[in-house]
């Protein structure tokens, strides 16, 4: 891997303003897990004007449903899940102060618009690299929705979690730009 930018969570506007598509980052600090079912619940809380189970301002959500940890393991295999399924819910969380999302795959225009407007960034982690990414998790605790099992919201303490900036606050998209570069008509 080439030069990486070290990012420490929580993220400020200043942190995300300097990030550009293609930047490789190593994330350290706290990130929260959440995928399909947890997003639906968070979204419902926002719609009802209720408080979220954690303060989302400046935070990063990782779209992941890990395998159960083996005895002696801190966290099970944990690569990103495909992000578009969270597109319906993401803009309202971004509006509430969410600064980063980690997943894989393209986002909708509505999510990209919300990222531009409220200064948030979307990162891709390598899909399928679950065993490798699990090693970056140093501590994991369930903070909400334990009944959802793998889909529960967990607070992770990560160290040098590798990701790449796919959507920046200027509206650029690495999927579009990267693919254009290698396409042959």
């Amino acid at each position: 891997m080439g030069e990486s930018i070290r990012l420490k969570t929580p993220l400020s506007d200043k942190d995300v303003e300097k990030l550009r598509i293609g930047d490789r980052v190593l994330i350290s600090g706290v990130i929260y897990t959440g995928r399909d079912a947890a997003h639906k619940r968070l979204f419902d809380l926002v719609t009802q004007g209720k408080d979220l189970p954690f303060d989302i301002r400046g935070q990063m959500i990782y779209y992941v449903g890990p395998t159960p940890a083996k005895p002696g393991q801190i966290f099970g295999s944990a690569g990103p899940t495909t992000s578009y399924r969270m597109d319906a819910y993401a803009p309202s969380l971004i509006e509430r102060g969410l600064k980063g999302m980690i997943g894989k795959g393209m986002r909708s225009d509505a999510v990209k618009e919300a990222m531009k407007k409220h200064k948030a960034v979307y990162f891709a982690a390598t899909g399928g690299a679950g065993a490798l990414l699990a090693k970056k998790v140093k501590k994991a605790t369930v903070v909400a929705y334990e009944d959802l099992g793998t889909e529960a919201i967990r607070r992770l303490e990560v160290e040098d979690f590798p990701a790449i900036v796919v959507n920046d606050i200027q509206g650029n998209d690495l999927y579009v730009e990267g693919q254009k570069k290698y396409r042959r008509e």
């Binding site: 891997m1 080439g2 293609g22 399909d36 079912a37 992941v64 449903g65 890990p66 395998t67 159960p68 940890a69 083996k70 393991q73 099970g76 295999s77 944990a78 690569g79 899940t81 495909t82 578009y84 894989k104 795959g105 393209m106 891709a124 390598t126 899909g127 399928g128 690299a129 679950g130 065993a131 490798l132 699990a134 090693k135 099992g149 793998t150 790449i164 796919v166 690495l174 999927y175 730009e177 990267g178 693919q179 254009k180 570069k181 290698y182 396409r183 042959r184 008509e185």
Partner: protein
Amino acid sequence: MREIDVRLITEQVRDLCIQANIDLGEDVLQAFDRAIEKEESPVAVDILKELKENARIAKEEKVPICQDTGFAVVFIELGQDVHLVGGSLSEAIHEGVRRGYREGYLRKSICHPFTRTNSGDNTPAVIHTELVPGDRIKITLAPKGAGSENMSRVVMLTPSDGVEGIKRFVIQRVKESGSNPCPPTIVGVGIGGTMEQAALLAKKSLLRPLGSKNPSSELDQLESEMLAEINQLGIGPQGLGGRTTSLAVHVLMMPCHIASLPLAVNIQCHVQRHKETVI
């Protein structure tokens, strides 16, 4: 008649669930190496190396390669001279899946379609049984992740669409799937039969080892042509751009009705898992 106790099948299915999820096949690792040699994008090369490293960690530490340990898809080739004793074959398979996913610390990903309530033990399995000559049972376990399965499609083309129509649909499917199915992918294509048979052919085509040739020269050529076109799309590993959008295209074909041309495209992510055993 050879008697086989179904409890033996439960044990084998259990072991296959665990092995398939932690030990990526040598054929896939070799396909990564070939891709690294050809790849022009530095980001793509890094990703392919990361995938190799991930497979090494999974195998060494006996942990799942990917957190999506999949739907347990089980292919059974049952010898017609086998007499199964000790209970139901299906229940024996489900029990093997239940134990494999629990004892192997694999993720349970199966839920009720409406309420989304998790079954809690990754059952039921999807079981495809075929009767074959002989007195043996071959069990193949192919856990299937949803990221790539969601990008799969079945279409009933018209006969006039022909081979060109087939190619167009397959390539368009890969293009539209973009970064979602965790490229580099393997594209399984089923042509002919009926609607459900085409889908099954597409799934079965994925069991062929990567790097092996299609025994039919006609289909071998079709596979090469489609792969070349797919890898011009520029999608690349993880959709971040590059030469390696797919590692292979595999085609299985059978005759179809005079009025139809069924086509199924089953996309498989780079974690191409399958293990088999013969009892």
